[in-house]
Amino acid sequence: MRFISAILFIAILGFVVVAGFTPRAFAQDEPVVGPKPPVVVKPMESHIGNLTGHAAAAKSDYRRYCAGCHGDYGDANGENAVWLDPKPRDFTIATFKCRSTLTGTLPTDEDLFNTIGRGLDNSNMPIWNTFSKQQRADLVAYIKIFSPRWEHEKAGTPITIPAEPAVTIESISHGQALFAKLECWKCHGTHGEGDGPSASTLTDSKDNPIRPYNFSAGGNDSRFKCGSTNQDIYKIFMTGVDGTPMPSFADVIQPNDAWDLVHFLRTLQVHRHGKENEVLAAAHGVIPPYVEKKTSDLAPAAPADNKSTGGGQ
């Protein structure tokens, strides 16, 4: 009897030791089964004017209105995502198209707030104007839970946009010269129809084919992906559309030259009734060739031996 209980004791002890030391090794080999763990809603906030958004308050709105495309985990793997082109934003990498901040930086809360309210033209992201401002602010806070970048980094500083000068045939002409010089036409085409020589080869940062913006499509109310005002166009090419082939030109275009480019781009929207097309019509639809007046359109090259300059705006 004693002998048996001794064996039993050793067996139990052995089991406890084995069970105590091995489960980690086993666990690594076992496939992960069952549902993914629930999303941890971190206490993120957003600040837009006097509004403060709280992530926790947007939980049900996100599940009901956003997760279908952007996914429960913000990874752009919602059940509708496979059917969409362009693909929904992946919040886990925190790269955003519509920013007032420089390329590679996080957008401001206001940028994201405006994106939700405005929707993204030429995509499946609708205009969420049914939401209250508080709901939108809460959703801005909610999408911050998906990337650790929001915990370690501050949003970029919005670029400074000088007051818009008057539209003249000269500003349009200079803008056209910049359009040629900066080789915007390589992708957007000479007439802005999205048919430049590189257009057919473009892919976004996830290797999905993507089309350059066609300025000539659309009517009087045609919008850009990131807005519809002249200030919005200014921001789009200065800060770039991150995650897409559209680069930032903030380092290479002087602020006032940028306005001239905006005025020319408006004339590519041939069906739009606006100041720019009126000025062009008054000039009988002919843009005169640009006569160089300024010493340089582009930021000067830094001397090779001077490391402290360069990359400036």
Binding site: I93, S198, P245, F249, V252, A301, G312
Partner: protein
Amino acid sequence: MRTKQMLPALLTLLVCSSLMFAGTVSGKVTYTGTPAHQKPIDMSKEPTCAKQHATPIVTETVVTGANNALDNVVVYVSSGAPDDGQVPTQAITYTQKGCQYIPHVLAMHVDQEFDIVNDDQTSHNIHPLPKVNIEWNKSQPPGTAPIKEKYDKPEFIEVKCNIHPWMHGYFAVLKTSHYDVSKDGGDFKLPNLPPGKYTITAWHEKYGTQTADVTITGNETKEQNFTFKATPY
């Protein structure tokens, strides 16, 4: 005054100690099998670049040399030599010339500043595609200032120019100062390694990574070769 007197002695000590205790790992990177055929690049859409090449250049995904040598392999100490946090101050440059990236693979230390230069008569957009570091995308027309950048996390980052889709390169951002990129027939050299046990990793953009353990006991040169299995696709 005192410092001046001590300087020669200190220098001698420094030189001696580095001579006595610095080992080197050097070797050759080769391949077995059949590497992918590199295709000629059609640059006719960019005449200013096309005319810089007497004969069309080919893609650089796999660059080989005589005796099965494999170039553009990043060889670095991946463990055994804790990073001292010293960021090299030497200037390194990634040049766009003839619609090509020179070098094809630019190795650098985490936080090391590097210049991106456009030597062409056409605009490029520099669009590195990091997964760990932060993505940005900048236009660089001809004659504009070099773009200064750095990355704060180790990663192999694919670089492309969306305007010229054949342009393709890599940044190798490493958390060690012991690295080299195999060149001129697959040769690499990792000098100034104090005695110790090291893991050396070799990374190729198409054929993946390989590792080897090397022990340095003193002032010696250890040979460590790497052989990648090449696949035609």
